[in-house]
């Protein structure tokens, strides 16, 4: 049982949990908190105009961990992910309440600048979206606008190390001046990951990064995610439960805008505590 969550007013009150699986959808089941959080979200609500998309979600993102977010389509997992680096700002009608903190700083605080936030919380999107520029320029763009490189050699080394960490260097080192859009889908996605790494973020958000890729490319990306965990905190939204099981340490299950259950990945997939989680992972809906 999780004592800390019960101690927070308005959050999970798992009184009935003792009697086997939980039925109600009102409160999150499982361990919301981790010992060493990189980001902490408290009572996050997201509205698109009048419609509420996320209901009162509280969740910690652990340092140097991979947390995966699963759930049926339209459950709000992508919306929640996009709150973490304020990508939802681009949608006019979108409104976020609650608290999302990183380094004790509320990222929705009016005085906070989103530019440094997005430099420290990078993002990889569902569809590979390299800039229609050369491979080199794709990687170099972020460091350039943030002024991270002292000179050309330094920039070259950033590009090389980013591509190496994304496992793409060997494949593209001879054609850095060719357009990034000319690469295969899997390579493009790894290019996008390299682009995100190049500005040395602390957190990388991945929104279904493999949904447009074939199994071989997917396997490469998953391997990469596992390696990146050493240096980065990763939050990944995925439709594939196998993928969540393979790459993540913690898993959060979303349903209709609510965070139903969160916990160690092994525990979620072997002994889910909530009825809805169980139904989803056993394939009864989704």
């Amino acid at each position: 049982m999780n004592e800390t969550s019960a101690a927070t007013p308005g959050l999970a009150e798992e009184t009935e949990a003792a009697a086997g699986t939980v039925q109600s959808t009102d409160a999150t089941v499982g361990e919301i908190y981790v010992d060493d959080p990189r980001m902490t979200c408290r009572n996050v609500n997201v509205y698109y105009g009048e419609k509420q998309a996320i209901f009162d979600v509280s969740l910690d993102i652990g340092k140097n961990q991979v947390i995966s977010m699963i759930g049926p389509s339209g459950c709000g997992k992508s919306t929640f992910l996009r709150c973490l680096n304020r990508m939802n700002d681009t949608i006019d009608v979108c409104r976020v309440t609650g608290q999302i903190k990183m380094d004790e700083q509320d990222i929705y605080d009016g005085g906070l600048d989103v530019v440094p936030l997005r430099a420290s919380v990078g993002m990889v999107f569902q569809k590979p979206n390299p800039f229609p520029k050369s491979i080199y320029d794709n990687i170099a763009y972020g460091p350039k606008i943030h002024g991270l490189s002292d000179n050309k050699e330094h920039l070259d080394s950033i590009v090389e190390s980013s591509l190496q960490r994304a496992g793409l260097w060997e494949e593209v080192k001879d054609r850095l001046d060719q357009p990034g859009t000319g690469l295969s889908g899997g390579q493009q996605q790894r290019l996008c990951i390299a682009r995100a790494i190049a500005v040395s973020p602390e957190v990388i958000l991945m929104d279904e990064p493999c949904s447009a890729l074939d199994p071989i490319a997917t396997a490469k990306i998953e391997e990469l995610i596992d390696e990146l965990r050493e240096n980065f905190t990763i939050a990944i939204v995925t439709h594939s439960m196998q993928q969540a099981a393979r790459v993540s340490q913690r898993t959060a299950y979303f349903h209709l805008g609510k965070l139903i259950e969160v916990g160690e990945t092994d525990q979620i997939f072997t002994s889910p505590r909530h009825k809805l989680t169980e139904d989803y992972i056993t394939g009864r809906f989704g």
Partner: protein, 432 residues
């Protein structure tokens, strides 16, 4: 089982029956489309054939060879070089003397006048320029090719119907005889008409050219482009990328779309009221013309630019924002470069529209008869379409071919501008 097979056969029969009808409809639709295209091509080729057949002769001009004696008595004493004196001399008299010498039989005053009329009044200026350039000509006798009068020119080009009775002809029988004599002596020649490209407008068709109008069009479009392109692109970027989506921006959008459909003469009246009457800018100048055309082209550019911005996929914006680019950087580094070809295409099409626009320029006085080639945006001038309108209005037969020739020049500009737009589109084709 048997029942099922029968059912299947029945279904297939019905499908077969319907199939013929479907294919027939498809063929008919194709024929209809093909017919429409052929009809369009027929009209276009009819237009081009008419214009070219009417206009190609304007690129040639009849010249007459005269033996001119640079009479010191009529110009100035030999050795005189003062341009003041030289420019004031009676050069027309030299030509008349030369003509009299060639046709000594013509003595009647009225006949003489008709004889002199064979040579363009512009010939005297040619002779003057020759003398001013080289005063040593005075006292010598030279063979000079001078421009023939427009009626003479029309006769040589075969535009005058000789079957008509003399009273209905612009060229009379005695003129015919003189021209025949000149031709016998190899004194008549058709040459490339450089005047048409180097002169401004004139009352005399053989002295008129489109340079003035072409320069006027150039200056007008220059003003139009320098104002409409930056303003249009800035407006489109603001509306598309920064403006909040609310009722006010909706109203603005509807109004921009409406402005694109406002008759151009209304813009002319607006320009007259605002630029000339209120701001006191001069009439007939390319500056005002360009401002009016800029107002008219703005909606076209804004609409095309917004469409170009819209067509940049949101994934590119997300990618840029995702690595921490500010909204302005996202737009200037990624969105604008991708949207630029579309914007340029829209702008060129807008410019082509402006180049062919006549009505609003009539309202601001660009329809005036202006001989001088404009040197700046503040010099009164005509523009190509207005020049066409003016010449089409003139009674002389020679202006008919010049009208067509001017249309050909205008069309050449329009086609090259549109080709440029197509080329830009092809060159920067979407690469994502």
């Amino acid at each position: 089982m048997n029942n099922q097979q029968q059912q299947h056969k029945k279904t297939m029969d019905r499908v077969q029956k319907g199939l013929d009808r479907r294919y027939r409809q498809e063929r008919h639709f194709q024929w209809l489309g093909l017919g429409a295209i052929i009809l369009g091509l027929v009209f276009v080729s009819f237009l081009f054939i008419t214009i070219i057949s009417n206009g190609y002769t304007a690129f040639q001009q009849t010249y007459v060879k005269l033996d001119v004696f640079y009479d010191p008595e009529m110009i100035a004493p030999i050795g005189e070089t003062d341009p003041e004196v030289l420019s004031r001399a009676n050069y027309g008299g030299l030509i008349k003397a030369s003509m009299r010498q060639m046709f000594p039989d013509v003595t009647n005053r009225r006949e003489k006048k008709v004889l002199y009329g064979l040579i363009s009044s512009g010939a005297a200026y040619e002779i003057r320029d020759a003398v001013m350039n080289n005063p040593e000509l005075i006292g010598t006798k030279q063979e000079v090719w001078v421009v023939a009068d427009d009626d003479f020119d029309m006769l040589i080009k075969g535009h005058i119907d000789l079957r008509l009775p003399e009273s209905d002809r612009r060229i009379k029988d005695n003129q015919l005889a003189w021209i025949h004599d000149l031709q016998e002596q190899d004194r008549v020649e058709k040459r490339f008409n450089t005047t048409f490209f180097t002169a401004g407008d004139s009352r005399e068709p053989e002295l008129s050219g489109i340079k003035g109008a072409a320069y006027g069009s150039f200056f007008t479009l220059l003003i139009c482009l320098t104002i409409a392109f930056p303003v249009g692109v800035a407006a489109a970027v603001y509306l598309e990328e920064f403006a909040p989506k609310n009722r006010w921006t909706d109203i603005i959008e509807v109004n921009i779309n409406n402005l694109a459909a406002v008759p151009s003469i209304v813009f002319g009246l607006l320009g007259l009221a605002v630029f000339i009457n209120f701001f006191g800018l001069p009439r007939s100048v390319p500056l005002v013309g360009g401002l009016v055309l800029a107002l008219m082209t703005l909606p076209t550019i804004i609409i095309a630019s917004r469409a170009a911005l819209k067509s940049v996929p949101p994934s590119i914006r997300e990618a840029a924002l995702g690595v921490g680019a500010s909204p302005m950087q996202t737009i200037t580094h990624h969105v604008l470069p991708l949207a630029l070809p579309g914007m340029l295409t829209g702008t060129i099409i807008g410019m082509a529209q402006a180049l062919g626009e006549t009505a609003p320029l009539l309202m601001i006085g660009m329809v005036a008869f202006i001989v001088d080639v404009p040197g700046s945006v503040m010099d009164p001038s005509a523009v190509l379409p207005v020049q066409i309108y003016l010449w089409a209005d003139s009674p002389e037969r020679a202006f008919v071919e010049r009208t067509s020739a001017a249309i050909m020049i205008l069309l050449a500009f329009l086609i090259s501008m549109n080709l440029l737009a197509v080329w830009l589109r092809k060159k920067f084709e979407r690469r994502w």
